[in-house]
Point group: C2
Chain length 159, copies 2
């Protein structure tokens, strides 16, 4: 295996394991628990779930892998902080959406040849990418893994 | 820049930015705040700081980059959970240690040629590495970034 293939593998392995950690955590938390604030006056578990769904939806677009699956939740979970929008989907709906989205993302990740992970993402111009070739698709996934881990740490406090 | 160099760059950039995030957060938190539990009966901020110091010390050894800087804190912050060992260093000492360690790690990271990040780490045998070449040094750093992000998410709740 050459270094390019190895580099892609270690990043995508981390994506998969982080998603698995989140899945396991979700199974441990009841709907009632998800509706609690992690720390008084901070985000509720349900908001983090919706927020990650919205951020990962955005990632699909950024990676040129299609459209958002849940554009209708952008407003509640991305544009606004928790408890600003009162009309949000329920835990059951969000849990199902999470499973569907994770599966869809995994299929798209698995289908992209290694070399294409080093191509530019959608939010950078050809000119800028020529100067900053590290702003590639693999970098986007790394950033999202970091973001996911950050919130997994928080959600784990609800246990 | 070839894909190997790019892959190393994007991972090390994430290490640097995660450490920076933690530095910024530490500056925002007073010693008094660090001594608080993030959530009742869970870890205190000071424990997370000591724990990250111990884990990053271990990483240095795993990457064949020298000895631990603070082996004396292993017991309190790695082998045991928070509040099990009562004799722990103070916030000032830990804050200083964090700065010294982060600088030392950064120097060692910057000094390692890109291709050597794809060599095996110290806890895997030659035989196993021949079968699983993704268990390389770069992978170790990725895992530690994930761990750091997980705890940054928690520490941020003390703000």
């Amino acid at each position: 295996m050459n270094t390019m293939v190895l580099a892609v593998k270690i990043v995508l392995d981390k994506w998969r394991s982080s998603i698995k950690n989140f899945d396991d955590l979700l199974l441990e938390l009841s709907d009632e628990t998800l509706l609690r604030e992690i720390v008084p006056s901070k985000n509720r578990g349900i908001y983090l779930l919706g927020h990650l769904l919205a951020v990962h939806d955005d990632m699909l677009v950024l990676l040129d892998m299609g459209n958002k699956l849940y554009p209708q939740w952008n407003d509640a979970f991305l544009k606004h902080a928790d408890k600003v929008i009162s009309d949000i989907p329920g835990c059951t709906e969000l849990r199902q959406a999470w499973i569907i989205q994770a599966k869809a993302i995994q299929q798209k990740f698995d289908a992209l040849p290694s070399e294409q992970w080093f191509e530019k993402h959608r939010a950078i111009s050809d000119q800028d990418f020529a100067l900053e070739p590290h702003r590639n698709k693999l970098n986007v996934v790394l950033t999202r893994i970091n973001h996911l881990q950050y919130h997994i740490g928080q959600l784990a406090l609800l246990k």
